[in-house]
Amino acid sequence: MRIKVNGEMYSPGAETPTILDLLREREVEMPEMVSVQLNGRFVKKENFGSTTLKEDDEVEFLYFMAGGAG
């Protein structure tokens, strides 16, 4: 299965991975601080374990600390 993670193609290890699986597999930094978007929509933390990913899904891991600079 191929999905997009933070704009880049990625093949998860599991056949039907959840967002929680993906967070662990990608060793996402500071998971308690991350916002997850699936196909442009916010996913609640309590649904990470039950939200299954499918082919061509687009996942974003985002942090509120970001912002850019001069």
Binding site: N6, M33, G40, F42, L62, Y63, F64, M65, G67
Partner: protein
């Protein structure tokens, strides 16, 4: 870890220091290099939790934010250059032209000025009500109301609003409850437990550790659905509970440049470690001073929530875990008597600040509220014969001696 002070001293850093420093170091740097072009791209896009530029994020500031977050048991914290920066950034993030904020005239003078002189010309209406009247509060809210805003202990009136009653109205109308908790801090008032959605604090006061530095924080308790706020609707769709914090960091806070300096963050993180000790001491001093002042015939009235004579005593006891803060006010016969009293003081400092380690005194009507007319000051509960005293952490016997000596000669 259960205790407030244990958390304040031992709270874990978000990231490990490479040298194992027991005190999180001061990163007095502007910019941070990334390993690759893609890393810096991701940092800018918010896809990587990396520091890029200290106007946006800085390790020492982040550490301070995380420590406040732990103590407040909140969703997230943004630290800013002052308490006023915290209030103005918050207002500009949640409100837009044509909207309104329901508040009270019992506000810090500069907050009132922000609403009336700075934000009103941009089209933000402030509706002033009596926060003791929840029916009036309910009637004042309409579809353009973006928040209810008030102080947990009002400065300098020392009114203590019923936060649970107000939060019930806010909850029923799907309007966020924003409070200024400068005079309480999470040590004596855990705003989340009383239905507050967002708390701002001037960390210049108790948190800085004795007037070491200027700063402020915005604490999002994570209890409000920001999808109900038109200006944050889009952000809520993308970032959910982090909508307010993201909008701040990626737009308003970034663009206004109201960042806390790393040096101040370092000092204030240190200040947090002794916050409980200092609040307990200044509170005990304020209690003794106010009880003493009540017995003085030259003192017309004394206001301190810790006094049994205060109409807010029982409410304050319930809301603040039996603590009442370090600020009290008292009235003498006239402005002239107030000035004469202040001028004779030897130990107590004539200065405009609160919760310093030193005891401070101020005549609010001629200072913080000097730009307002007599009528406005009356509406704001600031009388000409009122003095505000911020109890420090000195030995109370010395503070009392200074007060007693001066009362004798005016």
């Amino acid at each position: 870890m259960k205790g407030f002070s244990t958390k304040a001293v031992h709270g874990k850093a978000l990231r490990k220091d490479p040298h194992g420093a027991l005190r999180f170091p001061l990163y007095d740097a502007v910019a941070f290099e990334q390993p690759s072009a893609r890393d810096i791209q991701w940092a800018f896009e918010g896809r990587k939790p990396a520091h890029t530029y200290s106007r946006i994020t800085n390790p020492s500031v982040e550490h301070f934010e995380q420590r406040i977050n732990l103590l407040a048991d909140s969703l997230g914290v943004v630290a800013l250059s002052s308490g006023m920066a915290a209030i103005s950034n918050l207002m500009l993030t949640i409100a837009e032209t044509g909207s309104n904020i329901v508040t009270t005239k019992y506000l810090f003078g500069n907050t009132y000025s922000l609403l009336e002189s700075t934000l009103k010309p941009w089209g933000l209406e402030a509706r002033y009500i009596d926060m003791e009247d929840t029916d009036q509060l309910r009637r004042s809210i309409d579809h353009k109301t973006r928040a209810i805003f008030l102080e947990i202990i009002t400065n300098p009136q020392l009114q203590v609003p019923d936060i649970e009653a107000i939060s019930q109205v806010a909850r029923a109308q799907a309007v966020p409850l924003l409070v200024d908790g400068t005079l309480t801090t999470p040590y004596i008032f855990k705003s989340k437990d009383f239905g507050v959605d967002v708390e701002v604090i001037s960390s210049t006061k108790s948190i800085s550790g004795g007037a070491t530095s200027v700063g402020g924080v915005i604490i999002d308790n994570g209890t409000f659905d920001w999808g109900n706020c038109p200006r944050l609707e889009e952000s809520a769709g993308k970032y959910g509970e982090f909508a307010l914090l993201t909008k701040l960091k990626r737009e308003v806070y970034r663009n206004l440049g109201a960042c806390l300096s790393p040096h101040n963050a370092y000092l204030q993180t240190l200040g947090l470690e002794t916050l409980g000790l200092r609040i307990d001491r200044s509170g005990a001093n304020a209690q003794q001073i106010s009880e003493f002042l009540e017995t003085c015939r030259k003192v017309r009235s004394v206001h301190y929530p810790g006094l049994k004579s205060s109409r807010y005593h029982e409410r304050a006891r319930a809301q603040f875990k039996g603590k009442f803060g370090g600020i009290l006010t008292f009235e003498l016969e006239s402005r002239e008597k107030c000035f004469a009293f202040m001028d004779g003081l030897k130990l107590i400092k004539r200065a405009s600040n609160l919760n310093d380690n030193k005891t401070l005194i101020l005549h609010p009507a001629s200072t913080i509220f000097c730009e307002y007319s007599s009528g406005e000051k009356e509406e704001m509960g600031v009388g000409e014969s009122m003095l505000r005293l911020s109890a420090g952490i000195e030995d109370v016997v010395d503070i009392m001696e200074d007060i007693e000596n001066n009362l004798a000669v005016i």
